[in-house]
């Protein structure tokens, strides 16, 4: 099964189970969770079933194309089922069968792995899924997002596509993967890994990244009308009514901040104490977006409550 056949098999599988198939986000994200189709849709009461590929950037994981297992950009296949159906584990195992992996002939285990994104103010409980000792997926029940309690709960399945493909194709080096017949992963990405590693570790302009971080951070406040004053118990205050806030452009700015922070981190330009401060700053603006998104959807009457059948993915 080539890399693209793997993606197509998952697309078909989840499409047949009632998921919307959408496209990757057109901004730099560290994981599929950052895509607004996950981060924002996990908030509030509206149901949401979606699946997509997410090219995910982890600047610190770059290895100049020299390590057979590590990449600064890899591909996640992300599935969100909200509310999480009771048979979500069975659905996941069925999806492995759709990839030609019969769980009975392998050792598949659900190993405790709680997930937390300090920058997104999000956390959940769940597992990493092991296939014959290889971690192939993350499985998370979101409990909080943007500092807000989730209700209903979204189930998030994240497949590590490169790892699964390496397993299925029986190769030890990611660059030897067949993306399509005759085209290897290395043909497409090896040079890119070297360039991005060189950029992230050596050449990214530190002052520019810091400046961009600050500009985008400011933008979030402007676009949401975020007030400097805090309400009771530190509650965020907004000068704009919910429907006048531009939550989506503001969220893009949050994504940018998070990305510039990651580049600065890879550049070694952030000390341990500064690190915590940066994370706190991103968390604050992510929370402001999350609250604004919720307020907007509420003002709109949570339209998807009527449109989507909550059980679609479970059928």
């Amino acid at each position: 099964m080539t890399f693209q056949e793997l993606i197509l098999a998952l697309e078909r599988f989840w499409s047949e189970r009632g998921c919307l198939i959408v496209q990757p986000y057109n901004s730099e994200v560290g994981a599929g969770t950052f895509n607004p189709h996950t981060f924002l849709r996990a908030i509030g009461p509206e149901p949401w079933n979606v699946a997509y590929v997410e090219p995910s950037r982890r600047p610190t994981d770059g290895r100049y194309g020299e390590n057979p297992n590590r990449l600064q950009q890899f591909h996640q296949y992300q599935v969100i089922l909200k509310p999480s159906p009771l048979d979500i584990q069975d659905l996941y195992l069925e999806s492995l069968r759709a990839l030609g992996t019969d769980p009975r002939h392998h050792d598949i285990r659900f190993i405790e792995d709680d997930w937390e994104s300090p920058t997104l103010g999000a956390w959940g409980l769940g597992w990493q899924v092991w296939l014959d000792g290889l971690e192939i997926s993350q499985f998370t029940y979101f409990q909080q997002c943007g500092g807000m309690d989730c209700k209903p709960i979204s189930g998030e399945l994240t497949y590590g596509l490169e790892r699964i493909a390496m397993y299925l194709q029986d190769v030890d080096d990611v660059y030897d993967l067949q993306w399509a017949q005759g085209i290897r992963y290395g043909d497409i990405y090896k040079r890119a890994e070297w360039e991005w590693s060189t950029y992230n570790f050596e050449q990214a302009d530190v002052d520019l990244q810091k400046k961009l971080f600050e500009e985008y951070e400011t933008q979030v406040g402007v676009l949401l009308g975020l007030s400097d004053k805090k309400g009771k118990g530190g509650a965020l205050q907004f000068d704009r009514a919910p429907l006048e806030r531009l939550a989506l452009p503001a969220y893009d700015a949050v994504i940018k901040c998070s990305h510039y922070f990651n580049v600065l981190d890879a550049r070694g330009a952030i000390s341990v104490t500064e690190r915590q401060r940066y994370i706190g700053r991103v968390r604050l603006i992510a929370r402001a977006v999350a609250e604004s998104w919720f307020a907007q959807r509420e003002a709109l009457g949570f339209p998807l409550l009527d449109v989507l059948d909550t059980g679609a993915a479970a059928q």
Partner: protein
């Protein structure tokens, strides 16, 4: 004939620690509610069983029905319920209604506090099934987890989502609902080997029915089976299993039916340090290591405990691949690291923050060298070796391998140092200065390691206390409690004594130029009481809190071994039969003289008899006692006190009245007792010791 009851809650995969805590709380909850519901009997036996996918409870010896309830229930005060003429008020009617009786059934009960309404309640016991149905939801609500989660609609909180509930009394379903799930008799087998739902006939056939469905629900049996598999597999590989209790507990809680699948790796990876190979296998993959013999060399093999083994070759192949990639990474890191000596990393430590207000790791390392030198000189260790070990002890933090495997800090520093040809005493110290890591870990057994271990911990303690980072409640982010306990344990169990006062002074002085700390006196005051609290916590179980307090009272806060000698000596005499009377007498002497002035004793004012006898005896042994105390021979000192002063002081208190009217006689007596009390207090403060007899003069001390 009593029936067996079974409760099973089927869930998604629970983490190991969740199962342990959940089963403990389930058992406690069941015991409490069953006895509250009057279902208990002499033979009551509550047992829990569990796997990652189920929590189960078995109760045997339940009474077939509740015992009847006959009791007098008290109500409101009589005159709040009845008028003076005996006609009932609202309160009487309400109380009667609540208990299902008429006002005419209410009786007057006279108590110390006045007259009250009472009623005789009789409630016939109901059958066990009926009662269980009522209390089961509460029993289930008593289950706790380290962390709970919500799922689906998000209304319910549990360790993981709940899928089914079985509740059987004998062969009958006890109906109840928990977390939106109706209890029944349908359970499930192994997720992969017997996934179908099936009905249980009766509670008593639970274990056998599940075993047929590939689930060993009893943890002990499952673990025995797992160990058997592991030991056998190790033997067929021509080696022995490297025992690992923690890993065994972890693995057994990840499977419902354990199988062992052996795997292997290329022999060239054995060039890596054993700890790296074992760490990769154990911490990342949960594999058991195999050695050629007990404590012998590693074999290029591992043992993997899995949940299914239909196709062991496929499983081994997949796991081999994962392990190979991880070991290849480790090998690469080690090769890179060895390109430069450890000392080359000192420069990098200059840009690593130790703590934002306390400066860099580079500065810390310089302070460690100063502290180590001072300590070494006092402990009779080689100062040059101690300083060099202090200089190198943090360098491995800047190696790739430790960045990747933080748990190998120290171990890898030692390994690299050995290969650089560094003095083994120094290399060992790089590893040992992290010891003890916790209550179960050993302390450094060599001088150099012990010196650096103490130097490192005191630097962290003084620095953090100096900027107000004092642990509070459960918050102790710099593990300062553990650091203090480490110093205490090294002094008491390891090769060097520690003079806490000097240590604090040196460590504080070493910060000059690096950070602004609070003044020495302030840091010392708060750290000393911090240490005293740790010492007390550590020694109280073995010796008794009062013994430790008594010794802490007399201790000057300097040598930790001095304190230990006191504690051991007092602990020893405390067991002696004459101790009780002795302690009471000295407590009394202390209490009565607490406020009085000290001064020379005037022999002319002593009464003949008990008073003179005591004074003379004290005069002859006083210097011996003080000498023994000064030489820290506390057991000898206490033996002298008991042997020489026990009888005379008892007699004194029997025969002599201290607080006489004549002020000069009274004062002279107080001076005699005061000097005796002071002498004994130099060893330990006896007034802290708990005694069965209370001092007869306790009122004086009030």
């Amino acid at each position: 004939m009593s029936s067996e009851f079974l409760l099973e809650i089927g869930t998604e995969e629970l983490p190991a620690s969740f199962v342990t805590q959940a089963l403990g709380s389930l058992k406690a909850s069941a015991l409490e509610l069953v006895s509250q519901a009057r279902l208990g009997s002499e033979e009551l036996e509550v047992h829990t069983l569990g796997t990652p996918r189920r929590l189960a409870l078995r109760i045997r010896g339940l009474a077939p029905r509740q015992t009847d309830r006959n009791e007098t229930v008290m109500g409101p005060p009589w005159n709040a319920a009845f008028e003076a003429d005996g006609s009932p008020k609202k309160a009487a009617a309400g109380f009667a209604k609540k208990h299902g009786v008429t006002v005419g059934d209410l009786r007057k009960k006279t108590t110390d506090k006045g007259d009250y309404v009472s009623v005789q309640v009789h409630e016939a016991g109901r059958t066990t099934g009926v009662v269980l149905a009522q209390i089961l939801p509460q029993i289930c609500q008593g289950i706790t987890f380290p962390k709970s989660m919500r799922w689906g609609p998000g209304e319910i909180s549990f360790g993981r989502p709940i899928h089914w509930v079985v509740s059987l009394l004998g062969s009958d379903v006890v109906e109840f609902e928990f977390a939106g799930v109706q209890a029944g008799r349908a359970t499930r087998g192994h997720r992969f080997l017997a996934p179908a739902t099936f009905d249980l006939d009766a509670a008593s056939s639970y274990e056998t029915a599940l075993e047929r469905a590939h689930v060993l629900v009893d943890l002990t049996r499952r673990k025995d089976r797992m160990m058997e598999g592991l030991l056998g597999a190790a033997e067929s590989l021509g080696g022995v299993l490297a025992p690992d209790a923690f890993l065994a507990d972890e693995c057994v809680s990840l499977v419902e039916e354990p199988f062992t699948v052996p795997g292997s790796f290329d022999e060239s990876f054995l060039e890596l340090p054993d700890t790296v190979v074992v760490s990769v296998m154990r911490d990342h993959q949960r594999y058991f290591a195999v050695r050629a013999s007990e404590g012998g060399a590693l074999l290029p093999s591992y043992l993997n405990v899995v949940n299914t083994a239909q196709d062991p070759e496929t499983i081994a192949k997949g796991n081999d691949r994962v392990l190979r990639a991880r070991l290849a990474d480790a090998k690469f890191f080690v090769q890179e690291d060895r390109k430069a000596p450890l000392a080359d990393r000192l420069q990098k430590l200059e840009s690593v923050v130790f703590q934002s207000k306390l400066g860099t790791m580079g500065a810390k390392v310089r302070r460690l060298q100063a502290n180590a030198r001072a300590l070494a000189e006092r402990a009779g260790a080689d100062p040059a070796a101690c300083v060099e070990a202090a200089r190198l002890c943090k360098t491995d933090l800047e190696t790739l391998i430790v960045f990747e495997f933080p748990e190998l800090q120290g171990e890898m520093g030692r390994w690299y140092a050995m290969r650089e040809g560094i003095d083994p005493a120094i290399a060992d110290a790089i590893r040992d200065h992290y010891r003890p890591q916790g209550a179960d870990d050993v302390v450094p057994d060599q001088l150099v390691g012990a010196v650096v271990a103490v130097a490192d911990r005191i630097d962290t303690l003084v620095g953090c206390f100096g900027i107000g980072l004092v642990p509070s409640g459960s918050a102790d982010p710099f593990a300062l409690r553990r650091a203090a306990l480490g110093i205490i344990r090294i002094a008491l169990e390891g090769p060097i004594d520690v003079d806490l006062r000097q240590l604090l002074e040196h460590a504080h002085a070493a910060y000059a130029g690096d950070a602004e700390l609070a003044p020495l006196d302030d840091v010392r005051a708060s750290l000393e009481s911090f240490f005293r609290a740790r010492i007390r916590a550590m020694l109280k179980d073995a010796h008794g809190g009062d013994v430790v307090d008594a010794c802490l009272g007399a201790w000057d806060g300097a040598s930790l071994r001095d304190l230990q000698s006191r504690v051991e000596a007092v602990s020893e005499v405390r067991a002696a039969p004459e101790f009780e009377a002795l302690a009471v007498a000295f407590k009394r002497a202390f209490n009565i003289t607490k406020e009085s002035a000290r001064g020379p004793i005037d022999a002319a004012l002593l009464e003949t008899g008990a008073e003179t006898a005591l004074a003379q005896r004290f005069e002859t042994v006083r210097d011996q006692i003080r000498e023994a105390t000064g030489a820290r021979r506390y057991a000898d000192a206490l033996r002298l006190v008991a042997k020489e002063l026990g009888e005379p002081i008892d007699r004194f208190f029997e025969e002599v009245f201290v607080m006489v009217d004549d002020p000069s006689v009274r004062e002279n007596r107080l001076r005699l007792l005061g000097e005796i009390a002071d002498t004994v207090n130099g060893i330990a403060h006896f007034h802290h010791l708990g005694t069965k007899l209370q001092s007869r003069d306790s009122s004086v001390s009030a």
